[in-house]
Each structure stands twice: as structure tokens, then as C-alpha cells.
């Protein structure tokens, strides 16, 4: 676990040209960045790209880190923005996104039977890939990373009302896409 004060010292050293200090920052925070980015990446290569792009941006903007909040918070905001940019780029590339309903073997809450955790992730990944980038970002941070509305608002730079609206809209779309068996 990174100690914030030590992070600030490392940032100062890195700004002064100490590569070893920046390497230490990457070593300390790579886990958090990669875990967060992995919710948006489709494969390990894409995860590598997102992670590297995040730290490159951090390196470029290091001087704009004021130190009034922990380095980890600042880094989390950059990670979210890099992932959001990647989602928007991907969306532009995939113009013809099918909106057909996925046939998902969703759990029956009364019996407890349902998909394995891995299958649940797969179903959600498929459905979430069809959401608008901003909706996907909000629902990932809110539901999968279990962050509060305020945290999501801080990370994205959107208002809390906007976060709530987008989370609600994303849930509605997901329910439609996952196509829960209504006849059961």
C-alpha cells in the first residue's frame, strides 16, 4: 500500500528527472491502474495499452499534480479518462453495433441456481459492450467497482445528478439487452 507522503516525494524526484522514482511510482500503483482498466479492456494486449497510456499521461502531466489530494486519487482520474477515451474510440470504430437481445442464463434468485461468476462476467461484458461509452463508464465504476455516486462524479468530472441519470439509463438498457427470461 502506497504511503501518500512518499508518493509526493517520489513525484518531486521524478519531476527532477529521477527515472528510478517514477519506476517506483509505477511499481506501487500498477495493480490499481490495471485492475481498473481491466474492466474496460477486451484482452491482455488492450489492457497493456491502457495501462501504458495511463502512465505515459501521468508522466507528461506530472507537473500539474498539486499534491492537495493523494497521488492515487489523481492517478485514478487519469485512468478513468484514458479508459473513457478508449471506449469512445472503440465506439467510433464499431459503427454497426447490434442491439439484439442476448440470451443469458440468468440466475433464478429463488433457487440460487445461475451462472458461474466467470459466465456472469462474460454476459455482462457482452451486454456492456453495447452501451454508450459514458453509460458503460458510469455503470462499471458504480456497479462493478462499487464506488459511490460522489466518487464517480469526482472521477469523471460529471455532476452527481448526471451520474445518477446515466447509471439509471445504463441499467435499463442492460436489463433489456440481457433479456431476462420473462416467461419464467
Amino acid at each position: 500500500m502506497a504511503v501518500p507522503d512518499e508518493d509526493a516525494d517520489l513525484v518531486r524526484s521524478a519531476i527532477g528527472g529521477d527515472d528510478e522514482a517514477f519506476t517506483e511510482l509505477v511499481r506501487r500503483h500498477k495493480g490499481a491502474v490495471l485492475r481498473s482498466a481491466a474492466r474496460f479492456a477486451r484482452n491482455p494486449a488492450e489492457l497493456e495499452d491502457l495501462g501504458q497510456e495511463t502512465f505515459l499521461r501521468v508522466y507528461r502531466d506530472l507537473r500539474s499534480f498539486r499534491g492537495d489530494a493523494p497521488f492515487g486519487h489523481w492517478l485514478a482520474r487519469i485512468t478513468v479518462h484514458v479508459c473513457y477515451d478508449a471506449l469512445r474510440k472503440r465506439r467510433r470504430e464499431e459503427k454497426d453495433i447490434s442491439m439484439e437481445v442476448l440470451t443469458a442464463p440468468v440466475a433464478d434468485p429463488s433457487t440460487g441456481n445461475g451462472p458461474s461468476a466467470q459466465l456472469a462476467r462474460m454476459i455482462l461484458d457482452q451486454a456492456m459492450s453495447r452501451l454508450k461509452p459514458e453509460d458503460r463508464l458510469v455503470i462499471t465504476l458504480f456497479e462493478l467497482e462499487d464506488r459511490s455516486v460522489r466518487e464517480v462524479a469526482e472521477l469523471t468530472g460529471w455532476s452527481e445528478t448526471m451520474v445518477k441519470v446515466r447509471a439509471f439509463r445504463a441499467r435499463q438498457t442492460l436489463k433489456r439487452l440481457i433479456g431476462v427470461d420473462d416467461e419464467r
Binding site: D19, F22, T23, V26, R27, K30, G31, L34, R35, A38, R39, A41, P44, L47, E48, G51, Q52, F55, L56, Y59, A104, V106, A107, P109, G114, P115, S116, A117, Q118, A120, R121, I123, L124, E143, L144, D146, R171, L174, K175, I178, V180, D182
Partner: protein, 102 residues
């Protein structure tokens, strides 16, 4: 009835989220030596311009060889008619005289 179904769908979606939260994505492969690769990219991104110039040296060399070959082997076609060639030369001399004010 509709509300009931709506509730059930919410519960099922929440269950999917819960299951997905329980299995964090596997990042072990990417995490290994990640900092080394990041630093390599950073060093690459701050390379001075002359490092790139050196990388482009073979391209410039090939271009020079091509231009040299072209200048050696290319021979412009002279007019077959010697009078026309002479007239062309005379016109050039007249133009030069006019431009230099002689």
C-alpha cells in the same frame, strides 16, 4: 404483474453484478515487469530529434543513390534538328541579354 417482473429483472441484474464483482479480472500476466515496459516507452518518447534522424539515415542514403543514378543515366533528348537547337540557344542568349540589360 409488470412491477413484479421489473423487480425480478433488477434482482437478477444485481446478481450478475455481484458475481462479476466477486471475480476480479486477472491482471497477473500484464502486471509482470510492467514498470520496465512503461519506462522503455517513456525513454523512447523523449528521444531527441537527432536520434530519429539517424534512424532515417538509410532512407536518405537510398534517396541519394537513386538521384545519383538518375543524374548519371538520364540523358535529355536533344532536338534532332541542329538549326532548331541553335535557334533555341540564340533565344536563350537574347533573353539573358534582355534580363541583364545588355
Amino acid at each position: 404483474m409488470n412491477d413484479k417482473r421489473h423487480d425480478r429483472r433488477d434482482v437478477e441484474l444485481d446478481r450478475l453484478f455481484e458475481l462479476a464483482r466477486r471475480t476480479p479480472p486477472d491482471i497477473s500476466g500484464v502486471e509482470r515487469n510492467f514498470e520496465t515496459r512503461v519506462m522503455a516507452r517513456i525513454r523512447e518518447s523523449r528521444e531527441p530529434w537527432h536520434a530519429w534522424a539517424w534512424r532515417l539515415a538509410p532512407v536518405f542514403l537510398a534517396l541519394t543513390v537513386l538521384l545519383a543514378g538518375w543524374s548519371i543515366f538520364y540523358s535529355p533528348v536533344h532536338p534532332a534538328d541542329p538549326v532548331a537547337a541553335l535557334a533555341s540557344e540564340t533565344q536563350e542568349v537574347a533573353l539573358l541579354d534582355y534580363l541583364t540589360g545588355e
